[in-house]
């Protein structure tokens, strides 16, 4: 195992092909980051900061399956 070389995922056009992207790595990215617009602009239908509430719910609900992909010092 120690001689195994690291390889990028096997996809001819990785930027266009989401198939095969590991879910846990994807969640690291779609959930924790990209917060360019401030929280109060990421609004729910009722003008509440939905995203933050949802993330907290997610953290508690799937933590067994996807243990804490969020950075301690991350945007949360």
């Amino acid at each position: 195992m120690t001689t195994r070389q690291p390889v990028p995922w096997d996809n001819p056009e990785p930027l266009t092909g989401p198939i095969g992207v590991p879910l846990v790595d994807l969640l690291d990215r779609v959930m924790a980051t990209g917060v360019v617009i401030s929280g109060d602009l990421i609004i729910a239908i009722a003008d509440v900061p939905l995203i933050r509430l949802s993330l907290h719910a997610l953290l508690s609900s799937v933590s067994e399956r996807v243990p804490a992909p969020w950075a301690d010092g991350g945007p949360l």
Binding site: R29, I45, P67
Partner: protein
Amino acid sequence: MSDLVTAAPQDTTTATYVFAVSRTVDPSVLAGLPGMEEGAPVHVLPCGRLTAVVQAVTAAHFTEEAWQARLSDPAELERCARAHHAVVSAAATCGPTVPLPLATLYRGDSRVRQAMADEADRFTSVLDRIAGHVEWGVKVYAAPAPSGPEPDVAGADTAVKGAGLAYLNRKRGLQQRRHHRHEEALRAAEAVDAELREFAAASRRLRPHGQEASGRRRVQVLNAAYLVAEGSAAELTELTGLLEARTGAEIEISGPWVPYSFVGGA
């Protein structure tokens, strides 16, 4: 037909889901993408000098309660994450793209335009910063523990005159070796990160995954993202190969990603 008309009229209200923001996106790259729900197509919404990639969705399906349920359902969470990622990735084929987080919703297109106008300078500076770059994920795992039983350092004769002591010694030895391996792995992680930071335009440490997510019985000691120049995949692969050989740690790389981890802040 009449019951179709009378069925839950309040549910027809739409909201605008925003996937990403770019300068320009060729609408044809979005063709056929399902987006967050069936119905309206994923499309571009011009917003001044920016373009938002959006989809009209049924508001009632994207309320806070609906999201709570959705995010608690692993299959549905995966579907949403992949659908979001598919649109972000497609948009990014047209040029630098700022992915928005999953679940970014506005009451309508005009609200999106307003938000884009308010934040135009920040989006523009982020687009400039990430232009020509992609993100790579790098995960480092501790070198696997030697297989087979630990050597019995106490020796056979101690079994007679000090089985308890021998047991404690063995336990202590095991603990020390485990501790040592962990220290080594953390040092390897720091070494890998230091080298990759030199190579990258920017870097970010993510929280390492637990064993269940990382698979097998191995300990992840580094989960990091690096913003690197487009087209440097071969160099990165070579570098991580060298680092793997040098440190003895197991290294996994993933990418190229749209620079998700490098669009926060300003």
